[in-house]
């Protein structure tokens, strides 16, 4: 069955412009969505797919306006249902490369069930979650990723909700490619999108995205030049997990506890540092990594947490169809209708 790797396009050389539709972009000036769009358009030529075979599906939200701006097939659907609709698209035509653009409200609040079920089934979709930790389009209510205590239009005294950790949910539900990136790191964002496009199975990318209007600066400690090195750790396959302005901090796995060490303190060295293995067969390290953002003091990981291959739902489904056809022969009207206990009236 269709597999993106097989479909690599050699004959067409696209540029970013080929992926820009002629629709006026209508996000607020300064919104992080602009960068995500730009990076998607820039990396699309690397997706190895003819643009008529690419479909962007979305729900409702600022982020979900995304498909209008991509010059591919696009479906701006209803709130929360993008994953389910995309599953239908992919199952109906497995040759398509199906992307989902969604928000933290769209995919984790109303759409949470479709999301975890798509992950569970390992449907071959690429889900890009624009996480701004707020409901943008409805003007500023808290979302399931908003931090506890957050004051918003619908929580004037602060929320009493604990937030979801999207990476943990996706991985726990069965996503086979799990990554995080940021609107403000264009190259990294492009890389994550391109890598997701090459993965066969459910690829999930959390993009930390700034909503300038209703949650400005939610990620500035991660995205601003001066604070980024101390607060962000770039996960790179096969490389030790080093961060800090002076590249002197490393993550060591002390039993099951990740701890920060100084590799130049004379006591520890680079050899003590956890070497990231994105192909880890045991998901426990991925789990530990996913929890960095829940633990005070640890840096926020960006990059590919883990990827692995297992049969996809759409792949297996179509294999099963082929198997049954091979066994029973392609169905015909005759076989269908005259198969059971029939009798003649003459």
């Amino acid at each position: 069955m269709a597999n993106n790797i097989d479909n690599v396009v050699t004959q067409v050389k696209y540029t970013a412009k080929d992926f820009a539709s002629d629709v006026d972009v209508k996000w607020c000036p300064g919104c992080g969505d602009y960068s995500i769009l730009a990076q998607a358009q820039r990396s699309s030529p690397e997706f190895g797919e003819l643009k008529e075979n690419i479909v962007w599906v979305s729900g409702i939200g600022c982020s979900s306006r995304f498909p209008y701006y991509m010059n591919t097939y696009g479906f701006h659907t209803i709130h929360g249902r993008a994953a389910a609709i995309a599953t239908g698209v992919k199952l109906a035509n497995p040759k398509l490369q199906v992307w989902v653009a969604t928000g933290d409200g769209d995919m984790l609040s109303i759409g949470g069930n479709h999301f975890i079920h798509a992950c569970r089934k390992n449907v071959n979709l690429k889900i890009v979650l624009f996480n701004n930790k707020i409901y943008g389009l409805t003007k500023g209510q808290y979302s399931p990723t908003s931090e506890k205590g957050k004051v918003t239009k619908s929580s004037p005294y602060g929320t009493v909700d604990w937030p979801f950790n999207p990476i943990k949910i996706a991985a726990g539900a069965g996503a086979t490619f799990v990554a995080r990136t940021m609107d403000r790191d264009p190259k990294h964002l492009q890389e994550m999108l391109t890598r997701a496009s090459k993965h066969t199975g459910l690829a999930f990318i959390e993009v930390l995205q700034n909503c300038v209007i209703f949650n400005d600066g939610a990620f500035s400690h991660l995205t601003e030049k001066d604070t980024r090195p101390e607060n962000v750790i770039y996960l790179e396959h096969g490389k030790p997990m080093i961060f800090g302005a002076n590249k002197d901090k490393g993550i060591m796995l002390d039993g099951l506890n990740p701890v920060i060490i100084n590799i130049n303190d004379g006591v520890h060295s680079i050899n003590d540092v956890w070497v990231h293995d994105e192909n880890d067969t045991n998901p426990t390290r991925e789990f530990i990594l996913s929890r960095f953002t829940e633990v005070e003091g640890l840096p926020t990981p960006v990059g590919v947490f883990r990827k692995f291959n297992k049969p996809t739902y759409d792949g297996d489904y179509h294999h099963q169809i082929e198997d049954v056809i091979a066994k029973k022969g392609k169905g015909t009207y005759e076989k269908l209708m005259f198969n059971a206990n029939t009798w003649e009236v003459k």
Binding site: L50, T77, K95, M337, V345
Partner: protein
């Protein structure tokens, strides 16, 4: 001893017992045999809502009714002529339905104190004379079965399980039907369990022989083959027929069939049936819920499949928001609602026709869809086919209404030849020149340009869109234009559907208007009252939105319009609204179909002293 054979016109038999007694199986074996003999027939099973309530309890009684005839029939019969009651609870639950003087075959082996208590009998009805109006035949089926199987190396429990085949064999004898079809079925079914096969075959034969040899029965009956139109027939339930109709539409249109669904009584069998047809390329996506069911179907429709979703009332309620998206994006989609007793969880295994207005008006905003309703189990085949055709050719969501009565009931389908099925014309747009996603043809139909088509990349969605161009538009006049476009597209379907036919005179005192499964009872009732010299016409609506073009005119020719419905008057409302006509409502909301007699009485009441002439 030779017994006389009396030829009768039709007979209604009901098998009733515990959920574990195999009554559905017994009934369907009898049905298959009767069908193969060329009778017309109609069946209706009646399950408890519980899977298998405690043995012997009233809640656990499962029934199967079969009406077969030498002439054309439309219902499974009002009042059984024969009841097979496997235990006291089965007797208790079913007695009130029998016609006076009916034959009751009881399994006395189950009439012990415990079972009598479970059935809330204070005294044993077999002993207290309470059945004196019936022809009661007492048999200890359990014991007769065990005796028959004495020498077989099976457990008592396994042996006892065969007792339904004793009853079946006896019935075959009584109605002069051959055993061979059931024998063959047993051979295939239990090919790997020869002991069980042997046991059942023996018991079946024993039941037959018992009729032949004992003194209990003096007469046998015969029901001659019916004069049905020529053709190859198969017996279908409504749910099966729907599945077959969709696969046929898929074959005819050349599109893959995609079903997004979530199990729910009484619609689950459509999903189950379709999941067997993998070699027809059918995709059955059992979704996480009803919303994902319809959502995936909308996705599949966008991608170019013949996309459907199937459910019952509670599921339809959940699908309404997504149906609005299909309305807005003008994608073909068939939504099957097998109606059951409501509201809320209601009466899941009972029938009702109370979702019509929901299908019509259940969405926010002005969101019209096409609505069809099937009239009989076999008609479900054609309705599924036509719903697909309309959806695909008009780029419109179509609701197909069935109900629990049709879903589980069965009747013979005269299988059409492939060539006899209407063409389904689907044209995917491929030409980029002058392509606009919302440019309409003369029938208000927009082009279907599916992903994968070079040069036609475009975006659609649930926000209001600019006429012709399809991009987002908040412009006031455009919104009004689009609201009317969507409506007109639906109304235009009236040009493509058959006009209603009047069964009877074209004008007069009374016309009875039906929709959905009430068709059968009304058809039979009208035949009966006509036999009594009354004049009544009948108009049946398969298309509920839009109405067939001549409908208003046709009914305007009658002094009285009687509309029997299994709801509080939903079609009546639509008719009053559209035609400003007086309607006599006849409503029943008991989770049960109309009885023929109920309709007859109502017709007589409406006609008053007159004969409708």
């Amino acid at each position: 001893m030779a017994k006389s054979i009396q030829v009768i016109d039709d007979v209604t038999i009901r098998f009733a017992g515990d959920s574990g007694d195999g009554m559905q199986l017994t009934g369907s074996q009898f049905t298959d045999t009767v069908a193969a003999m060329g009778n017309d027939l109609s069946t209706l099973p009646d399950f408890p809502a519980e899977i298998r309530a405690p043995a012997g309890s009233l809640a656990g009684v499962s029934g199967f009714q079969l009406h077969f005839s030498s002439s054309d029939i439309q219902t499974p019969g009002d009042a059984p002529d024969v009841l097979v009651a496997m235990n006291p609870a089965a007797l208790k639950v079913n007695l009130k339905d029998l016609r006076p003087g009916a034959t009751i075959i009881v399994n006395t082996g189950a009439f012990d104190t415990k079972n009598l208590r479970l059935a809330n009998y204070n005294t044993n009805p077999l002993e207290d004379n309470s059945l004196s109006n019936y022809n009661v035949i007492q048999l200890d089926l359990s014991k007769l079965t065990l005796t028959t199987l004495e020498d077989l190396p099976l457990s008592i429990k396994e042996k006892e399980k065969c007792k339904n085949f004793f009853a079946l064999g006896l019935l075959y004898w009584m109605y002069n039907r051959p055993l061979d079809l059931t024998m063959k079925w047993l051979e295939t079914k239990f090919a790997k369990k020869p002991d069980i096969m042997e046991a059942n075959k023996r018991v079946l034969q024993a039941g037959y022989n018992y009729g032949d040899t004992t003194e209990i029965f003096t007469t046998r009956f015969d029901v001659k083959p019916a004069q049905l139109p020529k053709g190859t027939y198969r017996n279908v339930s409504g749910n099966e027929a729907i599945a077959l109709g969709f696969v046929s539409a898929s074959l005819k249109s050349g599109l893959n069939l995609f079903l997004g669904s979530y199990p729910i009584t009484p619609a689950s069998e459509i999903l189950q049936e379709l999941s067997k047809y993998k070699n027809y390329g059918v995709i059955t996506f059992q979704a996480e819920d009803e919303i994902a069911g319809i959502a995936s179907a909308i996705g599949a429709s966008f991608a170019g499949n013949l996309a459907i979703t199937t459910t019952s009332g509670p599921g339809l309620s959940l699908k309404l928001e997504a149906m609005g998206l299909a309305v807005m994006t003008e994608l073909p989609l068939v939504v099957v609602d097998v109606q059951r007793g409501g509201p809320s969880t209601g009466l899941p295994t009972k029938t009702e026709q109370a979702d019509l207005l929901q299908a019509m008006f259940g969405r926010h905003g002005e969101a019209p869809v096409v609505i069809l309703a099937a009239q009989s189990p076999a008609d479900c085949f054609y309705c599924a086919y036509e719903a697909s055709k309309i959806a695909l050719e008009h780029m419109v969501p179509v609701v197909l209404l069935s109900d629990g009565y049709l879903a589980f009931g069965s009747e013979p389908l005269n299988i059409p030849k492939f060539d006899e099925l209407k063409e389904i014309n689907v044209k995917f747009e491929t030409n980029p020149e002058g392509f606009y996603p919302y440019k309409r043809d003369e029938n208000f139909v927009r082009p279907w340009a599916i992903p994968g088509t070079p040069g036609l990349e475009h975006r659609i969605g649930g926000l209001e869109k600019k006429d012709v161009y399809g991009n987002i538009s908040y412009e006031p006049d455009n919104h009004e234009i689009m609201v009317h476009n969507r409506l007109n597209k639906v109304l235009k379907v009236a040009d493509f559907i058959p006009e209603v036919e009047v069964d009877g005179e074209a004008e007069g005192e009374l016309v009875v208007v039906t929709w959905g499964s009430t068709f059968g009872a009304v058809k039979e009732a009208i035949r009966n009252v006509r036999e009594n010299g009354k004049k009544v016409s009948h108009v049946h609506l398969r298309y509920l939105n839009p109405f067939p073009k001549n409908f208003g005119n046709v009914i305007s020719k009658f002094k009285n319009i009687l509309v029997p419905e299994l709801n509080l008057g939903q079609l009546s409302l639509l008719m009053r609204n559209q035609f400003n006509c007086d309607v006599i409502q006849f409503n029943k909301v008991k989770g049960q179909p109309f009885k023929v007699a109920e309709i007859e009485n109502k017709i007589n009441e409406v006609l008053g002293g007159t004969n409708g002439k």
